[in-house]
């Protein structure tokens, strides 16, 4: 394979693959690819990455923040979405079944003016176990949609999880936007507690 003297950035190849390039840029990329096997190989790597991310998302095994559009399209694709929406300061009884593809927690909060919002995940005693810092939220949004890992939830024993939305102001101090309690009941066979290592 001849070494490419002007390789295309893999991120640009990613944009090409998902049709996000402007026509002149797309034409330049395509002409290059029709003469360059090295960049073609790199494009195949990017395609494999994109397909892999797509598969992870389809399996519902990622913990992340998503949009309403994302959930709507998932439902249109035939995926089964289980959603819980406890009110701020409130709790909800929840579970997950083998048939569920996506597990969603909708956390209502007034996000206006928040420069940065963290999502803190706590145990039943309210002790923080981990934090998702600077989650993506719309500045004028009214809720955060947490996509919980279905894989993790299906393996989880009966337990309580407390989610807290925390805003940071310009001075660096934190402000609680809302606290939401999920009382998860295991309905699938499995261990009663997380294994200790």
């Amino acid at each position: 394979m001849i070494n490419c003297s002007n390789p295309i950035d893999p991120a640009v190849l990613g944009d090409y693959w998902i049709a996000l390039l402007a026509p002149p840029e797309e034409e330049a990329v395509e002409e290059h690819l029709l003469g360059c096997d090295q960049c073609g190989a790199r494009l195949r790597e990017v395609i494999a990455l994109a397909d892999g991310v797509g598969q992870l998302a389809r399996e519902g095994c990622l913990r992340m923040i998503v949009s309403d559009t994302y959930l709507k399209r998932a439902a249109e694709k035939g995926l089964r979405v289980r959603e819980y929406a406890p009110p701020p300061g409130g709790s909800v009884q929840c579970t997950v079944t083998a048939e569920d593809d996506f597990l969603i927690g909708r956390l209502a909060a007034n996000l206006s003016g928040a420069k940065q919002v963290d999502l803190s995940i706590c145990n039943a005693s309210g002790i923080e176990e981990f934090r998702l810092p600077d989650i993506p939220v719309h500045p004028s949004g009214q809720s955060v949609i947490l996509h919980e890992s279905c894989t993790l939830a299906k393996a989880a024993p009966t337990s309580t999880m407390i989610a807290r939305l925390i805003a940071h102001d310009e001075t660096g101090s934190e402000r609680l936007l809302g606290e939401y309690t999920f009382n998860h009941t295991r309905t699938m066979p499995g261990p009663g507690v997380w294994p200790q290592f």
Partner: protein, 181 residues
């Protein structure tokens, strides 16, 4: 001998109309490239395969007839043929059948370069190491195929910002997967 030649060097050899080995070499080189074009535009393996065959037969037919005057413009010429063929595909299959009957048996069988296989669990760990914005952007883009504008609207950012986040995430994932050069 032919493997050492540049793509453009094969054009005049084919133009003489008798060098089947040069044609076969060009076919071997161009086939995976045209297939990628097909995958990108048709999003279907079989359709990409059909496109590849048809484009290369059309291109070699034109090269035999000496219709490409500037060999260094071969990539541009093949790109034009790709575009025309995609348009033709939407019009009908008659020309394809005629070309395949006339030329199809002359060219070598192409073994496709296999797509790279990624370690699924490793990729899952890599995706979880992205920061929250990067993870959301990359999943909305690659799984949901949302446009930059859609993602930007959701996040309350500019499209340029989303592009920066997306590019950073792609580089980080490649690095984490050990494919970033």
């Amino acid at each position: 001998m032919y493997a050492d030649l540049k793509d453009a060097d094969l054009v005049p050899l084919i133009g003489f109309g008798t060098d089947r080995e040069a044609e076969a070499e060009l076919f071997r080189r161009m086939a995976p490239r045209v297939r990628l074009y097909g995958l990108r535009h048709l999003r279907d393996e079989q359709a990409a395969q059909d496109l590849m065959q048809q484009v290369l037969i059309t291109a070699i037919e034109a090269l035999r007839a000496g219709r490409l005057r500037e060999p260094e413009k071969l990539a541009s010429f093949v790109l034009g043929t790709c575009r025309m063929t995609v348009l033709d595909q939407r019009r009908g299959a008659q020309r394809k059948e005629r070309l395949l009957q006339h030329f199809g048996a002359e060219f070598p069988e192409i073994t496709h370069q296999p797509s790279p296989r990624l370690d699924h669990d490793h990729l899952a760990r890599c995706v979880q190491t992205l920061n929250e914005r990067e993870r959301t952007v990359i999943v909305m883009t690659f799984y949901d195929e949302q446009t930059g504008a859609d993602v930007a609207t959701f996040l309350g950012l500019s499209e340029a910002n989303v592009r920066v986040i997306r590019h950073r995430a792609i580089h980080q994932l490649r690095g984490c997967m050990g494919v970033e050069s």
